[in-house]
């Protein structure tokens, strides 16, 4: 099977490609990249007026499978990913049972093979049951297909465990991802602590509950000289710490979500549970600081922290509702509209943060670039396309997205995984063969 993508503008900062080029895909790999490829025998996609980027990667997704299939499954979550322009996603281990053994990892991989639209990379738990006590069998998990380790929403409070984990992970050259939160400082908080939590009478989570753990992780990464990836950074304080760590060459990388970039805690006056997320939506000042950090290269990755919850679970009192935002299908448009089209960052920077950098951080050598021989994972983006977010049309099983009804300019229009079109919103995805 061959697929020829013609007339698109190829944007790949990793391979330093930034011009109109045709791309030919053969046997799931990129076979040719040239100014003109003739296409008599191939299936043809006409990408005139559009950008072709390396397939986008979301390294922070909750697929809820196994165990909470009423929220999402590997099938629906991967469809949502495809619709959102992602060709690869990494899924967090907080399933039921927890992905802390090769059995669960293998289940995820085999179910993905059968039903997933995009590449699925399981992140295994760092500690058994995410309990923060005993390390998981990291080597066995890697052999079974785990790509990184994290206790996710159960932050690693025990610094000794984090230390031992880093030392052990370093041996296998693998990555630890940490959700930075001091649980004692957060106590039972449900939103950002500050003026609005005082106004609304909701228990606050101070911004420094994140900052102190970011600082601890930076110190451990430096001392042990092992990489830590900081999940969903949300505060100005974290940005400052990461900036100075990077200047010193400490192996720290980090990600930011669209909701932490574009939403602030004044919106909580609605008590809308769709805005309940951890780390919480912070202040306008934090938004600005995060955006600046994206611009300056301090933060490396855009990720969604896609956390689907059913309408019934979110349709309760604010304190009772689970944390989480459903983000796969809005992330790329939110960044295109709010940052790229407003000329705050370039499209190249978007590609770096949504594809090149996550591929490098996760060690996916044949992804995150458009290069002969690389995996034929591509995303086609129309920066002019206008959309209105409608959660009812989501591929995801859940609807908990606070951007509903937002009007956005710019969207992924086609997602190609291993040379196969897994999503397209184009009226005619394929040109007739001549």
């Amino acid at each position: 099977m061959t697929l020829l993508i013609k007339n698109g503008h190829v944007k790949d900062p990793c391979s330093k490609l930034d011009k109109k080029l045709d791309i030919l895909i053969k046997n799931n790999k990129i076979a040719e990249i040239k100014e003109k490829i003739e296409g008599e025998d191939h299936q043809i996609v006409d990408a005139s007026g559009m950008f072709i980027t390396p397939g986008l990667i979301d390294m922070h997704v909750h697929l809820r499978d196994p165990g909470q299939e009423h929220k999402e499954t590997i099938e629906t979550g991967s469809k949502a990913a495809a619709a959102g322009g992602f060709t690869s996603i990494a899924c967090m281990p907080n399933t039921f049972p927890v992905n802390d053994n090769s059995g669960v990892t293998k289940y995820i991989i085999s179910k993905a093979k059968k039903s997933a639209s995009v590449n699925i990379f399981p992140i295994a738990a760092l500690s058994m049951g995410q309990k923060g006590e005993l390390l998981t069998e990291m080597a066995d998990l890697i052999d079974s297909g785990a790509i990184a380790f994290s206790d996710d929403g159960m932050p690693v409070s025990n610094s000794q465990l984090m230390r031992r984990g880093l030392e052990y992970a370093k041996r296998g050259g693998t990555l630890i991802i940490d959700h930075c939160e001091d649980l004692d400082l957060s106590s039972n908080g449900v939103m950002n602590e500050g003026h609005y939590s005082y106004l609304l009478g909701l228990q606050g989570i101070p911004d420094y509950s994140e900052d102190v753990m970011v600082a601890r992780n930076i110190i451990l990464a430096e001392k042990i000289n092992a990489p830590i990836h900081l999940a969903h950074i949300s505060t100005q304080g974290s940005v400052e710490l990461i900036k100075s760590a990077k200047n010193k060459g400490i192996p720290i990388t980090s990600e930011v979500t669209p909701h932490h970039l574009f939403l602030d805690d004044s919106l909580l006056t609605s008590y809308s549970t769709d805005l309940k997320v951890n780390p919480p939506i912070r202040t306008k000042q934090d938004n600005q600081s995060l955006i600046k950090a994206v611009k300056q290269g301090i933060i490396d990755v855009f990720a969604t922290d896609h956390a689907p919850h059913s309408p019934d679970e979110k349709g309760v009192e604010f304190n009772e509702a689970p944390f989480g935002i459903n983000g796969l299908e809005t992330a790329v448009s939110l960044i295109l509209d709010n940052l790229v089209n407003k000329k705050i960052i370039s499209l190249n920077r978007l590609v770096e943060m949504f594809s090149c950098n996550p591929a490098k951080i996760l060690g996916l050598d044949s992804k995150g670039k458009i290069k002969i021989g690389a995996d034929a994972d591509l995303t086609i983006i129309d920066t002019e396309k206008k959309i209105t977010v409608d959660v009812k049309k989501f591929q995801s099983k859940s609807r908990n997205n606070p951007f509903n009804n937002w009007k956005l300019k710019g969207a992924p229009v086609m997602t190609i995984v291993s040379g196969k079109v897994v999503y397209s919103s184009l009226k005619k995805p394929f040109s007739p063969k001549k």
Binding site: Y198, G201, E317
Partner: protein
């Protein structure tokens, strides 16, 4: 008198003139409770549900009597455990009750924002009888009514509120109301319970009670919950009393006509000395009496009673 609000969710959502309308209406309704026959037909045929998810004596009976004195039918439910535990969501509980054709639902709940949440799917008028640590609008209204009765005004008064402000819905509603009416509010308590950033709500913050009570016109003491000590908001009751209890000595420095208020229930000799609680300067029981008039006014205005139904 016009009152166009559908719900009473909080003081935040009320304008100054709406507050005045409620207070003036309460003033005309107050004498009903002193009549031989304490009942007028203003809300005859209306059905009200009193839905309390937290223990309450004062507020619950106050709403109940207010409704009865206006001839409404009222049914009270108390659930100290959330129905979520039993597998029924709050939404389902309320929709089931509403199916009995209620006109108003009075709700007390431990989660902030719950009345607003109900208003998103309920047909009935929603009245907030205290939501978590957010608002307790009828308490602030009855406090304002009492202050006005005693002081003849609200504007320009120095009102000092002392205690666990962070966790107090009474304090919040009072700050919002007193601010709108032009009083000067000072919030006092240990730093963890009175974060400096609460000044943005429209109040002065002071962690020193001796300084704060000087020349105060109104001193409002809040109940201190003993379990807060476990979370290190203050080291001991002994030390709390030492720093923040209203004692005769501290009270002497207030304005000579100052009044003492407390939303109840009181911890005698913890946040307030028994001697002061029972003194002529204390208006605590007047607050309770006025609570009925204010809640009658709220029910009457929301449920659209006619003025002629209670004036002779």
């Amino acid at each position: 008198m016009s009152f166009n609000k559908k719900h009473l969710l909080g003081i935040q959502h009320l304008t100054k003139s709406e507050i005045l309308t409620i207070l003036n209406t309460a003033e005309s309704l107050k004498e009903i409770s002193r009549r031989e026959v304490k009942k007028v037909p203003a809300l005859r045929g209306k059905t009200i549900i009193n839905l309390f998810f937290e223990p309450s004596t004062r507020t619950r009976s106050s709403f109940e009597l207010a409704a009865k004195r206006l001839s409404a039918d009222i049914s009270s439910f108390s659930k100290t455990t959330s129905s979520t535990v039993k597998g029924e969501t709050l939404k389902d509980t309320v929709l089931n009750l509403e199916a009995m054709q209620t006109d108003a639902i009075i709700i007390r709940h431990s989660a902030s924002g719950t009345p607003l949440f109900l208003s998103t799917f309920c047909r009935s008028h929603i009245i907030n009888a205290g939501d978590g640590t957010h608002e307790h609008p009828t308490q602030a209204l009855l406090d304002a009514f009492t202050i006005k009765e005693e002081k003849k005004r609200l504007k320009g008064l120095k009102v000092v509120i002392v205690g666990d402000i962070l966790h107090s819905r009474v304090a919040r509603s009072n700050v919002f109301l007193l601010n709108k009416m032009g009083a000067k509010v000072v919030l006092v308590g240990p730093p963890g319970m009175v974060p400096s950033e609460m000044a943005h709500l429209g109040a002065k913050i002071d962690h020193n009670m001796d300084r704060a009570v000087k020349n105060a016109d109104v001193i409002m003491m809040l109940r201190i919950q003993l379990e807060r000590q476990q979370k290190n908001y203050f080291p001991s009751i002994r030390e709390y009393r030492h720093l923040y209890s209203l004692t005769p000595k501290r009270f002497e420095t207030a304005h000579k006509n100052a009044i003492i208020m407390h939303p109840g229930p009181i911890n005698r000799d913890v946040e307030i000395s028994t001697q002061l609680a029972d003194s002529i300067k204390s208006v605590i029981l007047k607050q309770v009496e006025n609570g009925i008039a204010v809640r009658m006014a709220v029910l009457y205005l929301l449920l659209g009673g006619k003025e002629r139904d209670f004036t002779d």
